[in-house]
Symmetry: D2
């Protein structure tokens, strides 16, 4: 089998200040569907083009941010093997029992060098695509609503030990560096993008003095028309837009950054899949950092580097 | 590393009746770029978003069709291993020396159960994307021309032993069945689509009484607007359209089938990448075969089943 | 005032065989909104971007087709003046009293040389755009449904006396010929398109041996993406597509022809407005009639010339 | 004839600081075509979808801005009549002889209450659409380049006597107010948009303490994809973007504002034509001025009100 090991972002648990407002945002505006709740009050959501039972978990508390992000691996044997490899790399791991998250199997959790909780898991109940059968599937679900995002695609995390994360991701977990933005010295990595698949990125990091900061969770749309429609919905629903519609230089994706009611940044974006393991890493030089992030404005907005949760 | 083994379609050698007319079509209209010629008179072409030296090889002769299709594997060790596995599967293999195709390493060739020449290779000279640097890459090349296709994406082959091909692809070469259209008995496979990656398909077959027939080579575009623009170019350049612009039910891709001057069918299409190894196979029942292939017309045109080269 | 006289297509009354099925089609699929019914059982519909109370009237009877099409003029004085001009042209006119159609003022009806009932009116109740205020208007209505057509845009009628219609439209009613397709003699007009505005066409005719035949009523969409979405909806709702998505040569519009459950042809299309009174007429020669009508296929399908109601 | 009087923006003369740089911008980037030069050194440009000989005139001098904007009327008799009407309104008029601008007939010039030079003319040589015949016209010109703008569409002017302009445009010249943004008192007009056609606007004004200021000249594109492509070209060619890609609330157009090398603002935009004389004026209240101008950001950027030439 060609794709083995870590397959994709499986889910992310996001902290929100008010569950009602959060659901109005993630369900009512973004168009995720609620699939479950648990006795801790957590709400489980999925996008219409996802098969697994959930990809977003919302937890109400008094500080916004990300609790953890979890990647799905291809089987239980891989989970066991990677757990040992992570331990051999020098990190402590924790087994979270099946059922801690509804419909999800055992998870292996560890704190990566940037301070974030990172998890692997192999099993999650399959609910199938929302509103579309596997037999004679229609092109899209007639009852999709809001921005109609297709999947939780990746997250961007801020933290200090970028070099440590690269070592872990590439030497232990099978990710590859696909694209990077460099500091003015043209050596130090400022922003790094990793793929565990054909995708241009499955996770990304930006160098930042604090550990364990969350920049955004990103949702896939299909076209630039979808991006416009999403921006229009943000105006109609008075959602705070950070920047966009615009294009990223990195990945050439088309994008909007915006904020949930708790201040967590979201992204909707579209791009053509374009990574293979034998492709060269793309690099943006220090003098082009603005264009690397925001291809049209060719300058960072002040929020990009400072506003994280 | 997550992606291993067979990575992607590397190149296809297509027979054309007149090289001048063929280049007017593949370069002038489709927008491939000539990168090389050899002393046999073969012409090597690549699409702008490809890194390797070529993906299409044209050979002038007096009968149209496909000579062979070749898939790139991740390394020489994989090539050696898969050669043995194919032999163990019961097929004879042939080593084609490096340099037989310009800038390409050794290839392992074998005839698959449907009668087609299928090859694996591990090494090809990298030229980089056409008109775009790996450092501070622009979003697209300013000098792209014609339909501006991004890559050779897959091919669809017609042949008899569909079951034999499935066994070879899935048990030996690491492909997975992603989607299928069934006959009226809802058991016999009529059309089968296989992925060796995240893509919805890297190769496809249709059951057909003759061996070794070629249905089409497909090129990736990015958007439905690009599809329209390609159709317009076909009208302006008097290229024969088979069907489209339309959508496929299978993969939900948007598409045009058209013919090169030698009668070989081409496709331009766009779709969102959507395959993972843990996804269910999608199936189209026998009564929906028309919608499976042509989602809007909901009927096959007579050419789809009969015109092959 | 620059625009005077006849302003635009105001409404069309279409005969349907079953009102329930018709509403499932025109409301449920096309996305028109019901605004009224009358004691004859007629149902009044409008598109979201229209201000007037209705643009489509459906009447249930046992033969499909068009009862009449009505154009709005700028004021009552113009209505009176044009009534006299039409009489002077040699046609009998009939005054239909206000209220014959709900919320609509007096109409002047006459039979044009191709045998169709053609009407003028000056007054209709304004309901405003559906779901959008005139104060701080949103970009589009959040509750639009189905294909989300923006307006009834034009109709295409089949009949014999094309020359008589041209005389009436251009010499009396202030329309202009904008584009035409010619017969093989390159003189006889086969298809003629007229504008009373900036639009590429407000009404069109095709030469046909029978009088008073209806080819299609057309609804405006905004983009080629909308056209695709409409085609997808047609597949999901099992609406019979005549042809498309494709492009017309004439007007360069992008289009789908499809049928309502009674066999009346509809069109959804998009195009950029591009007519001024000082523009030259565009002509398609007899050898290019296929491309004139269907720009991509470059051939008429048999239904285009034969299936009318 | 339905459209009479003032038909459309005919041309605008823009002052540039360096003709070479200006041509690199207007021809090389925006995609206008040079059609003429005169002995004053002025350069004449047209867009591909325009029939008349030019729509943009560039004049090199040492201060950027607009010399004049000229509207085409339907015939010489209208020109004579409107000249008298403008005089009766109380403005002095000046006849500029035919040939003062190459290939252009007599122009009637007057200074409107906001201090801008405004002209009317009836005759200009017709060159036809660029690269497209009136016989069997292709959908678009294969040799279009740069942003491929379709036409000079309108201009936005800044000045003080907004009320005087409204009186002139609506009572004398046959324009209609289509949409307006109001001050915080919800009475005073801040931004006003006028149509002389079916278009959402043919000219616009913003209230400003200085007379005779130029905000932007706008060029039509067809789709939101075209807008993205234009923004990408701006990045590749290092053109300074003011704002966008985004949407206007007013007209719901999709837009980019950007600057020519002399500091004159340009716009590329797309929208669906949607004005008729019987439509209500749309109004934006004082608390929604940001959304009226920039629908997504919902706030004015500081440049919108302050940077004019």
């Amino acid at each position: 089998m060609s794709m083995t090991g870590v397959l994709r972002p499986g889910h992310i648990q996001i902290r929100v200040l008010d569950m009602g407002e959060a659901l109005e945002h993630y369900v009512g505006a973004i168009g995720l569907r609620e699939t479950d709740r648990d006795d801790q009050g957590r709400v489980y959501l999925k996008a219409w083009d996802e098969y697994d039972a959930f990809s977003i978990v919302l937890r109400e508390t008094d500080e916004a941010g990300m609790d953890f992000v979890s990647y799905k691996v291809d089987c239980v044997e891989t989970l066991d093997r990677l757990e040992k490899d992570v331990q051999a790399f020098g990190l402590e791991t924790q087994r979270i029992p099946a059922g801690d998250l509804n419909r999800c199997g055992e998870r292996v959790r560890f704190v990566i060098p940037t301070g974030h909780n990172f998890e692997l898991f192999a099993e999650k109940e399959v609910l199938g695509r929302t509103g579309i059968s596997d037999t004679n599937p229609e092109a899209w679900p007639a009852d999709a609503s809001g921005m109609k995002v297709r999947r939780f695609d990746h997250c961007l995390l801020y933290g200090d030990d970028i070099e440590g994360v690269e070592k872990l991701l590439t030497e232990v977990l099978g990710f590859q560096l696909t694209e990077q933005a460099l500091a003015e010295d043209n050596e130090t990595q400022i922003a790094v993008f990793y793929s565990c698949s054909n995708k241009a990125h499955d996770i990304a990091f930006v160098r930042h003095p604090e550990k364990n900061k969350f920049h955004h969770a990103s949702f896939l749309l299909e076209t630039w028309e979808d991006i416009l429609r999403a921006a229009d919905i943000m105006s109609m629903k008075e959602i705070d837009i950070d920047i966009g519609p615009t294009r990223h230089g990195i990945t050439a994706g088309r994008t909007i950054y915006f904020f949930d009611p708790s201040g967590n940044r979201n992204e909707v974006f579209c791009e053509v899949s374009n990574w293979y393991p034998d492709y060269p890493v793309k690099s943006w030089t220090g003098d082009q950092i603005g264009k690397a992030i925001f291809y049209h404005d060719r300058a960072l907005n002040e929020r990009f580097l400072s506003v994280v949760t």
